[in-house]
């Protein structure tokens, strides 16, 4: 399991009081873990701080609302961690 997933799952567990063992790379943040948009702002704040990035939540939400992307593309944890890794790599490039 990636260190990114370990860090993100710990953030989600602590922010939303969800047992760590319930959080898997296949978990959908909204459908499976029941994380709402306000909790996700707290999660984004913690992720931004932990990884030194800014998750483009508004852009992602707009893409989902316009049908250009599926929620799974951003809010399934494995995919989210992939996006985080991309943002970290882009920052250090």
């Amino acid at each position: 399991m990636s260190s990114t997933f370990d860090a993100v799952s710990k953030i989600i567990s602590e922010t939303c009081d969800i047992p760590l063992e319930k959080i898997t790379p296949e978990s959908h943040a909204i459908d499976d873990l029941g994380i709402d948009s306000l909790d996700f702002l707290d999660i984004a704040f913690a992720i931004d701080k932990a990884f030194g990035i800014k998750l483009p939540l508004e852009k992602w939400t707009q893409e989902v609302n316009e049908g250009k992307a599926k929620t799974e593309d951003y809010f399934v944890l494995g995919a989210l961690c992939g996006k985080i890794d991309e943002l970290v790599a882009a920052k250090s490039a």
Partner: protein, 157 residues
């Protein structure tokens, strides 16, 4: 302050875009219908309105940092502490520092002082959204004018 209309800030004292801080005066009025119930014979500024004062001060800070392009809406307060009673006719100062901002959110640390002594504090979270209507943005600018918000510093922020 006009407690019954939730206008918690009397005027903006200082805005520093580099330091990401804003301070505001918040003068507790001598009389308000709020004091009739909170509490009869022992009037006190409700603690929840101290949080609102910190949220509004933080809100002006966030507006200043984004050039009044998006509106912060209070969504959470963590570690809020009210350390002392605040009776009517008390001049307060409210201080806010931006500690995080990202895509659609902002987080501040705020505190209230009386005569330099800290009497309340909180970490406050906001959802930051585009103004739903240009009239809303204009209303906020007019409100800022009444609070003596330093718009001249906004241009260089």
């Amino acid at each position: 302050m006009r407690l019954e209309t939730f206008q918690m800030i009397t005027r903006v004292i200082a805005f520093d875009a580099q330091a990401k801080t804003l301070s505001a005066a918040a003068d507790v009025p001598a009389e308000s219908p709020v004091f009739e119930g909170h509490f009869p014979g022992f009037p006190l500024l409700p603690g929840v309105l101290m949080i609102e004062a910190m949220a509004q001060t933080s809100g002006w800070l966030i507006l200043g940092m984004n050039g009044i392009t998006a509106m912060p809406f209070l969504v959470g307060a963590n570690n809020a502490k009210m350390r002392d009673f605040v009776p009517p006719s008390t001049p307060l100062e409210v201080h806010a520092t931006l500690i995080g901002d990202g895509s659609g959110y902002a987080v501040t640390k705020a505190h209230i002082t009386r005569d330099g002594k800290k009497i309340a504090e909180a970490e406050i979270r906001f959802a930051v959204k585009a103004f739903p209507d240009p009239k809303f943005a204009q209303m906020i600018r007019e409100w800022g004018g009444r609070l003596q918000f330093p718009f001249d510093q906004l241009e260089t922020a």
